[in-house]
Amino acid sequence: MPTIRIDGVEYEMEAGKNLLESCLSLGLDLPYFCWHPAMGSVGACRQCAVVQYLTDEDEQSGRGRIVMGCMTPVTDGAIFSLDGDRAKGFRESVVESLMLNHPHDCPVCAEGGECHLQDMTVMVGHRDRVYRGQKNTHRNQYLGPLINHEMNRCITCYRCTRYYKDYAGGTDLAALASHDHVYFGRHQEGVLESEFAGNLVEVCPTGVFTDKTLVNDYTRKWDLQSAPSVCTGCAVGCNTVPGERYGRLKRVHNRFNAEVNGYFLCDRGRFGANFVNNDERLESPGLRNQTGSYDPVDHHHALQVMAEACSGARVAGIGSPRASVEANYLLRNLVGEDNFSPGFNDREHKLVNLALELQQASSAVTPDIRSIESADVILILGEDLTNTAPRLALALRQSVRNKAFEMAADLRLESWQDAAVRNLAQDQLSPLFIAATGSTRLADVAEENITLAPQNIARLGAAVAASISGHAGEDLEPEIAGHVEAISTALRAAKRPLIISGTSCGNAEVMQTAADVAEALCQSGQQTMLTLTVPEANSLGQAMLAGPDSPSLGKLAADGNFDVLVILENDLYHRAPEPEVERLLATADTVIVLDGLDNRTTSAASLVLPAASFAETEGTLVSLEGRAQRHYPVFAPKGERRPAWVWLLACSKELGLSTAADLHHFDDITRDCAANIADLAGITGAAPDHHFRNAGVKIPRQPHRYSGRTAMRADISVHEPKQPVDEESPLAFTMEGLNRSQPGSLLPFVWAPGWNSNQSLHRFQSEVGGPLRGGTAGMRLLGPGQAKESGPRENPPAFSPTQGQWQLVPRYRIFGSEELSALSLGVAELCEDGYIEIRADDALGLEVGEGDGLNLNDGLATLEVKINNSIAAGCIGYAAGHSGTANLTPGENISLQKAQGWKRRRPQLIGSDRSTEIGSGND
């Protein structure tokens, strides 16, 4: 370990790091702008300047040179000064020059109070402004409903384009113009295209890029009440910090978890939680009267009605993969194991359980995100990850750079030398192979993009597996055969191969063969990783709880004859075909629904109980990686809303169920579930229980500068109500307590003296970029499995298109395919209505064009046409999860007819319109 001297003090440093990150890890304040722990150094802003001395004599005489901390490797015996007048003076003048054109508009800036520029300005001691010239001003751009642009605040650190282009692969944000006019924006105004654009809000150290939904409903960071939370947008389970004020969810920030999401979220996660404020949220329990409308009742009454209905009756329960383990567990106990459906539709039921089973039985490791980023050859079968498990796609964009890091290592170039490493590698990437039903959003970094029908993706997988284990493959279709050799050769040569598949293409064989490829690699002695995606935040937990033999929705409808149906946070009309749902609802006389938002299923209920959202309750969710994670209420639920677990526990007690006798706290449910469900035995380890205290005190949800608490409701009454008391967790709804070094699962926000922005995170990490000091949040429930003995599997049958029929393949969108995020402000603007994707030659044959309507199977659905030539021949894509598509089942063969009397939603553009559209930007 190199020893260096800084201002006369010797420090042992970790080799291979730069001086800036080493200083920050030591807790020394060295200001910076352009360096970012996940993106490395380019030395652009000159803010991290220090003085380096060659010899002791130089140090004594003060004869050193200015170097950039972020560009200087720590080498044994190096001598630096951070605090010397020269270093300090230089850094102060850097801020002064960066601020020349800055408008000093902190009072109206959304970044104010959590601004890295403010922090650095104070840190370097720059106070008096001597510049009297005119400031440059810029015109801002409309960048869509999610991100606000205020270019005048820019200090040209280049973090935004480095993040957006280099890190996230976006192409529509650039540094424009030069010298005093540099402008960070788009060629023309418009919605930022990247699915990860929202991270600009946290990456930009100033108020140029800010969260538009926050700007429009503003609260300063110091006035936000926050709690550690988990994104419910998909099964990745990214860790988040939602912030609340006045009972409204104001924004979502990233919560660092080295193994799940690092520094970044996707835009569904960041902007898709706003449904919590939706006007359609249910306020109070509702009892349906004779006229079919609902009478509001209080919770006592509602509970009595529920208990009376359930008492002595045959009750079935439908759980939900978007509800917590605990709520589902209580419902299962309430109705009995045999009458509990996890709430999957039939296909989902089979696929999610298979995903679990395959991972449990695989010798391959289910990787965390750091391991994913270390993969050097990747095969994806059937997934458009950017739209199904978005954060993983961002990780893969880093994995393909391992080739660059290898090349750099050969030249002894540190990986944090970002510009140098990129320059060296140019367009060289580690191999990524994608076989999917159409083009995917990772196509630009893939070595091969292969488009096939699902059955043929499975055949490709099987052939690769056979080739790796040396079995002779059978005769393959030329569209498949041409790829097998390249893929298996690359995989065999890999040091850290990663195979990815999942439930999204709706085909079990695809997942199965992906697991076979991973197994074949393991058998040949390679350390292999296998990731299988599942649809929702707790899909895997639900499979662990209910198992493959539990009834799916269809099965429940088929054998059902119940008096009462209790449905937990599950809009069945969104999940299963309408006739099936109707049949299911008709099996029971009484339908009781617990949910947060009004939907078609709540409208079918005789009793509706308003459930707290993820932001108002605690819960455990199991991510696709098999990681159990706890989320906590950010604020107490309003009025008659209750967490689903509270409703269900109260009802169980009302019914006198023995299973509920010993359950009093949330923790009791978690513990009871862990004790009774083998696969979920580890969930108590997801977070400390409610007895935990941080050095004897609770953990505050409010920063110590939280202001105006006594005045918040003064317009209603000057008597301040008592703050809600949290008896269920170690967190408190107050400013009092200690937020430092506690377990990572309990970190409600980051702040440190002098570090008001999210950059204060490094004060909570064991070292810069490393895991949280209190430990990484979450508990892994999947270990490496034991492979079952199996000979070579029979090859799945090939896809054979039928004349006049097309196979339905689901296609996903980050905005629109997930139910709740689509109801969020801003995101809703970016969601489209359901549509069909069809090849141009098929469209020609059907005499339809873009924007026309297509009738599926004579009335199964009618959807708008989009032309997409990347769709596999013989298949048509549909916008999964979107309005009007619930009746469609993946893999189904359907006929198509042009819809008569279809009204176009948009006027049709013809060629000349298109060119005037382009030309109009010229003036």
């Binding site: 529509d172 030069s178 060629h187 382009i918």
Partner: protein, 167 residues
């Protein structure tokens, strides 16, 4: 971008321009390496680079328009707005400044009725400043179109511009 869409965009370029750009592409390992040359080619044909041309070049080089615009706007001699038939590049860097380029600029403004950055109403000239033309020993200097004019004085300026304004 779909293939059809990108073909549609590229069609804004002439065959001649495309051929010239392709000839450059033949010399380099990456298509986008000819970005500057392609911009210069189109500018040589059209006098400036419109948004439409820029999108067309970008599509042809398999880059995004945003990326190419970053390059185009970096260079002050790639014109992203229409310019007159000839561009006057009047040097205002150190040597020319010492030798009185400010007065010369005023003279030009009086003569042509345009400030820096403006185009004469007959569209003959656009007046732009430039930072050093590499002819400091002959300061003050300016370029008019492709021609360099050295050791300028108020009279020679009128002669040069007047000369070229007379048909």
């Amino acid at each position: 971008m779909s293939e059809a869409n990108s073909m549609n965009l590229i069609s804004a370029l002439s065959q001649e321009e495309l051929q010239a750009i392709d000839a450059e592409i033949a010399h380099v390992p990456y298509r986008d390496a000819v970005a500057i040359d392609a911009l210069k080619i189109v500018q040589a044909h059209r006098g400036w680079v419109s948004d439409e041309s820029l999108s067309a070049i970008a599509a042809h080089l398999h880059m995004s328009a945003d990326e190419l615009d970053g390059i185009a706007t970096f260079y002050n001699l790639i014109y992203r707005r229409p310019v007159g038939d000839k561009v006057i590049l009047l040097c205002n860097s150190i040597s020319c400044w010492i030798k009185g380029c400010d007065n010369l600029q005023q003279r030009i403004t009086e003569e042509l009725g345009v400030e820096l950055g403006e185009t004469t109403s007959d569209n003959r000239y656009t007046l732009l400043p430039v930072t050093c033309l590499g002819a400091c020993d002959k300061a003050p200097v300016m370029m008019v179109g492709d021609e360099l004019h050295e050791d300028l004085c108020e009279e020679s300026i009128i002669r040069i511009l007047g000369g070229s304004t007379t048909p």
